[in-house]
């Protein structure tokens, strides 16, 4: 049960930033009325960030990973989250076996 000082610093930085985003809305009520394109851009932040994080694994690792990502995306449109993960993991194992 060790806690590395650098890891602790990273966790504290993440925690502080997250808490500030959570309470910022209290002080912005009435001053933050995004609409139209600005609202669309703001709404797009979470998916854009999530895609950016996984794109190297999904697109720049090898064809098994890319194909498994496509299979997972199809699964995500009709299955709950945990089933989607199961499909993704199973397909990457199978495709890596095929790839040798």
């Amino acid at each position: 049960m060790t806690i590395d000082p650098t890891t602790l610093t990273a966790i504290l930085a993440m925690a502080l930033i997250t808490y500030l985003t959570r309470i910022a809305g209290i002080f912005l009520v009435g001053r933050l009325a995004l609409s139209g394109r600005a609202k669309a851009a703001f709404d797009a932040i979470p998916p854009a960030v999530l895609v950016a994080v996984i794109a190297p694994t999904a697109l720049a690792t090898g064809w098994p990973e890319t194909l498994a990502a496509l299979v997972t995306a199809v699964a995500a449109t009709r299955l709950p989250l945990l089933a989607t993960i199961a499909v993704g993991v199973a397909s990457v194992v199978l495709l890596r076996m095929v790839a040798g």
Partner: protein, 243 residues
């Protein structure tokens, strides 16, 4: 249910609390396996159960935590992790601004403490409840502040179990991140605008990763995706709400 010593209380606190517990219970059950996965992946990255649990207590934001883990290297890139956290959690600002005016019976202290537990799920449940009745502190603290118990305990359990699993790639567990993120991304789907954001972010991120390596692919992909959403959205009218 009414407390005999408070007959004139306008709000039935016990009933509000029970409603909050009832609403959040399915979410707590669904969060447990995700927490186990998060803990196991923490162990795969070399984090101790104490560190994994501490992150789930203090950050308590699944998307940002999984993203941080994917970006985690040694030495720890603190600035990259902080920036990624800011980008992913920036949506809290709008969520809070939308919910705060509906918390009329809350003191500022209750809002500041209560919003520590703000998550996509508790926010969505509270917004739904606020449509036809007043939002009470009893309801909010039940619906929001119970979820950490499930998230943190499953994180620690996953981190302890994960250290016995060995190499995550052997069982495809290294791909669990990617699959999880694809599932989360699907939850933000709202048609053409999100398609533009996702496609642009994917291409820009992969290209930047090829050309410059980590961590620049995150910022490049995110900013390109956000710009694409701005361009793809209709001018002058309200964009469709994200689900």
């Amino acid at each position: 249910m009414n407390k005999p010593f408070a007959p004139s209380a306008p709000v039935d606190t016990a009933r509000e609390r029970a409603a909050g517990i009832r609403d959040i219970m399915p979410v707590m059950i669904a969060a447990a396996p995700i927490g186990l996965l998060f803990g196991a992946l923490c162990a795969g990255k070399g984090l101790s159960p104490a560190e994994a649990g501490l992150m789930s207590v203090l950050v308590f934001a699944g998307g940002a935590q999984f993203a941080a883990l994917e970006l985690w290297t040694w030495p720890v890139p603190i600035a990259t992790l902080a920036f990624s956290t800011l980008l992913i959690n920036a949506r809290h600002i709008l969520m809070g601004a939308s919910l705060a005016p509906k918390m009329r019976g809350f003191s500022l202290g209750q809002k500041l403490a209560g919003f520590y537990f703000l998550t996509d799920e508790s926010w969505a449940l509270a917004e739904r409840r606020a449509k036809d009745r007043a939002l009470t502190p009893a309801y909010w603290f039940a619906v929001a502040a119970l979820l950490p118990f499930s998230w943190v305990s499953s994180t620690i359990a996953g981190a302890i179990l994960g250290s016995f699993l060995g190499d995550p790639a052997r069982i495809g567990a290294d791909f669990a991140f990617t699959a999880l993120f694809i599932g989360l991304i699907a939850g933000f789907w709202n048609g053409r605008v999100s398609a533009a954001a996702i496609g642009a972010s994917a291409v820009a991120s992969a290209a930047t990763y090829f050309a410059f390596g980590p961590p620049w692919h995150v910022a490049a992909g995110a900013l390109t995706g956000i710009a694409a959403a701005y361009v793809a959205a209709p001018v002058g009218e309200d964009a469709p709400e994200a689900a």
